[in-house]
Amino acid sequence: MKTVKSFVLVAPLALIALAPAAAQEFSKELIEKGRYLATASDCVACHTNHDGGKPMAGGLPMASPVGTIMSTNITPSKEFGIGSYSEAQFSDAVRKGIRADGANLYPAMPYVSYSNMKDEDIHALYAYFMQGVEPVDEKAMETKLPFPMNIRASMIGWNMLFRPNETHKDDPTQSAEWNRGKYLAEGAAHCSTCHTPRGIFMQEQKSLNLTGGQVGPWYAPDITNDKVHGIGTWSQEDLVTYLKTGKLDNKAQAAGSMAEAISYSLQHLTDADLNAIATYVRSVPSTKAGETTGATRFDKGTADNDMAAFRGRDYADGLKGDHAGAQIFAANCASCHGYNAQGTKDGYYPSLFHNAATAGDNSINVISAILNGVDRHTEAGHVFMPPFGDQVNAVVQLNNVEVASLSNYLLAQYGNDKLKVTPEDVQVIREGGPKSNMIQLARIGLAGGAAAVAFLLAGFIWYRARRKKPSVLSE
């Protein structure tokens, strides 16, 4: 079995000599522009181990069905980072997914989105990464993936099919703001990476742009302007508020990858850019067939409780009956969210009715919020819901049956009462999201050749690896 090389950007040592770094001094303004674009691109979210690691020095473990992927050191360290990259090599890595030694990156790195970036912005990013980031002379832990994931050449075919090779071109029929918004949303901010569903090769299905997709244990919902399934009922101000704070009272809150995107990236963008992103996103129509009228995921459910069914009885008895979900809710959730799930007036503790997490088109986010909690840093403070999975800091480690009971209570009482959760569904989310057709893919791959397996799995990794990190906090 061949030795597997590092997953993303780090150049093998032997090849560094071929790629001397630019010796020029970049202007402060250019470096600052690059810093802003790096923030917009959320590089730090994946390329930093947030459990005590140094910025951009890599080492963040990201779970995938074929093993743990470690992000790489992208500081300008000549030995361990990208300090020896030329601007052309840097550009190819960011926009084409080709690293300095010519090998292909796997699309855990969202170069498909970044491919729209303009040369001048790549130049600024390069200036920032060479001279605005502190070099860290530490080797990030290497990714060790088993065969056949080590066949990087398989990505050549994938790139031919699915990598756009064009930078952004303004649409003259649209406003400058819309064009700026599209450039950012489809590029640096890479919204579609999560919010667009994947096809059979795990490529973004552009025909279903922003209509929702699974991201590890979370679901990135439909954010088209569809008035029932999307966010068509949101005002411009609503969406900008959400991108800035991660919450919109009595509607939705960001958790999982979106909480990270807001914590590290979106809240730091200018109001003008957030408005531009909102302008563009609010113009994206849904191409999915569905009901055209009805309640949205933001306005289902009412304040209520089921306590009369069990209060005054023994806790163990309460767990046995038909009201187990209500009992689990009272014991674990009501202390913060209120006995009627009404939340608090300031919205720090959201109501569980009029809440996208309990009333979406699927139950993924209600299960994941219970198991993984919420962790979001914004200027307004640190929003933290503790997890109830098997983390060491879980307030209570609820089992699959309990999470299913609780989810079904929340869905029926406060959200989308058409959905039902089984303990098996909970187990899938507990393990980080669906493993779906991995085995089948591998079988097809073995029949069709190892390269095809790698091809499929690479796409799958990309899909699965999006910034999934443990929600357990370190001490």
Binding site: R311, A331, N332, S335, C336, P386, N393, V396, Q397, L473
Partner: protein, 544 residues
């Protein structure tokens, strides 16, 4: 009997003291086995036990923690002859503690007053009690570590911190919590009398998550349980310790500490819940059961080499039992105060615990209890025969216009305040603890000449229309003194690191070691002693 297990370090007890030592040792690479007498339960169960309990029994914190047959602990409403704790002497040492995995921090308020430098030199300065075996500056770094380990919030303004004497080498990791409406008013009232009501330093996440636990959301339910784990309790550490490699045995009642020919500890023996016995060996042993269970276990373990009990060549094991004898002023006021927003204890007057008068009588700490009042006033309203809206209105009025002011006193270590083994046996056949207790003249004199007058003065300044004073001293449930620390092995049980004078591989850290308890709650000092012992154990294991 077979040896079921062994480890580098065996820790008996899973409360805060055992837990912080266990983590230090695990982080230093040692294997750790922890033995807990009682069960391991989920927070959900405890929370619902409490909510399901009828109002009339909620005066007893332990109602949320029913004791197991094999691990009895004090439960309210028991007949004295059936109770776990047996009492002799003029006062009852009527403590509340629980034998559950996580220990009694499950139901502490989180109050974390440090001792003052003067508290630790009582004999030198005032000619009473005992001096600690070391000074405040020695303990201070361990206080800082405790404040960061447990997540203790407190004020950054020096004039609002306690103690006022002695240096503080690091700020609190979190800011103080805001006062409730009643506390704001109380603070203004006592200011007119010249007293400074300051924020309690408390092990509670104020306005932010800490250590993977959420911010306090003001359930006002700290006692008997924080429903969201915003308050530190040792249960919150158990999963983390297990992930670091600790083995945790529950429902396992240690009844004997076994010594070997070198008079080192060789093993501990325990009963499981089926009355089967087991033996656990180790290189080093930590007794972290609490200030009552530790002396009981040491006395039960007497052998030929140690005829008075293990670690008891000084005959001080079980003696010097201390607490903070307390009297409560229930004040009915003309105007509303409103207690109950935020944590149950959130502020206090500490300066009244200090002064030259300590050569004559005890100091006292005055606390405005911030428990929501409705639970306490409902029965009084019912007794008035009110129904319907009139009842609701009266409960509302009394919830607003009554308040409890508690005066907690320091007590001197007295060898006659003594725990011995009772003739009465528990379910396993082990002797129940019997405690002889007298709060003493030092406390009584304070009450007569000092604390009662101050309390009445405060109540009147609050606009009291009625003052009811508890008829006797109540216990604060701060168990201290039974394995007292000292440099002289002839009159103390443990050395400056809480190591038994008699056994070099036995540590007995926690409240039992405290040579003086002053007026403030003891957990922060117990934990600081645990961390100090932990350092000593790590050092000792390095040489082992």
């Amino acid at each position: 009997m077979v040896t079921k297990n062994s480890a580098d370090v065996v820790i008996v007890g899973t409360g805060v003291v055992g837990v912080v030592i266990a983590e230090q040792l695990l982080d230093a690479g040692h294997s750790v086995l922890m033995i807990e007498a009682g069960p391991r339960v989920t927070r959900a169960e405890v929370v619902e036990n409490w909510r399901n309990a009828p109002l009339g029994v909620k005066g007893d914190t332990s109602v949320a923690y029913p004791s197991r047959l094999w691990a009895p602990h004090p439960m309210g409403g028991e007949k004295p002859e059936d109770a776990y704790l047996q009492f002799t002497g003029p006062d009852a040492y009527d403590q509340t503690f629980i034998r559950y995995a996580g220990g009694s921090t499950w139901h502490w308020a989180g109050t974390s007053w440090r001792l003052t430098p003067e508290d630790m030199r009582l004999n030198s300065l005032y000619g009473v009690g005992r001096d600690w075996a070391f000074d405040y500056d020695t303990l201070e770094p361990y206080y800082v570590r405790t404040e960061h380990k447990l997540g203790i919030c407190g004020p950054s303004d020096r004039s609002q911190q306690w103690p006022q004497t002695g240096d503080r080498s690091a700020p609190y990791p979190m800011p103080a919590l805001p006062f409730s409406p009643g506390e704001v008013r109380f603070t203004e009232v006592v200011k007119t009398l010249g007293y400074n009501n300051i924020p309690v330093a408390q092990a509670r996440n104020s306005g932010m998550p800490y250590d993977g636990r959420p911010a306090c959301c003001a359930n006002n339910n700290c006692v008997p349980v924080c429903p969201v784990a915003a308050k530190y309790d040792a249960e919150t550490a158990l999963h983390r310790l297990e992930k670091k490699g600790a083995t945790l045995l529950v429902d396992s009642v240690v009844y004997k500490v076994e010594t070997n020919a070198q008079n080192k500890i060789e093993a501990v023996h325990f009963y499981d819940q089926h009355k089967e016995t087991h033996r656990i060996t180790g290189k080093l042993f930590v007794l972290a059961c609490n200030g009552l269970e530790n002396p009981k276990l040491l006395l039960m373990s007497k052998d030929d080499r140690n005829p008075n009990g293990v670690a008891n060549s000084s005959d001080q094991v079980g003696r010097n039992m201390m607490d903070h004898p307390a009297r409560t002023f229930t004040v009915t006021t003309k105007d509303p105060f409103w207690s109950g927003v935020g944590p149950v204890v959130n502020s206090g007057i500490m300066e009244t615990s200090q002064g030259a008068f300590r050569s004559e009588h005890a100091g006292a700490y005055f606390r405005y209890n911030n428990f929501a009042r409705n639970r306490f006033v409902t029965f009084a309203a019912l007794k008035k025969g009110l129904v319907g809206k009139a009842l609701d209105d009266e409960i509302r009025r009394m919830a607003a216009c009554t308040a409890d002011i508690v005066a907690a006193h320091e007590i001197l270590p007295d060898p006659n305040n003594r725990l011995t083994l009772s003739d009465k046996k528990d379910w396993l056949g082990l002797p129940k603890p019997s405690i002889n207790y007298d709060v003493g003249d030092y406390v009584r004199k304070s009450w007569e000449a000092y604390s009662q007058p101050i309390g009445k003065q405060i109540a009147e300044a609050m606009g009291a229309v009625d003052i009811k004073i508890s008829p006797k001293f109540n216990n604060s449930k701060h168990i201290m003194g039974g394995t007292i620390m000292g440099k002289d092995a002839s009159n103390s049980v443990v050395d400056v690191d809480c190591r038994a004078h008699d056994h070099e591989n036995l540590f007995i850290p926690g409240g039992g070691a405290m040579a003086a308890g002053a007026c403030g709650n003891s957990t922060i000092t117990m934990t600081a002693l645990a961390l100090k012992a932990g350092d000593a154990i790590v050092e000792q294991m390095r040489g082992a």
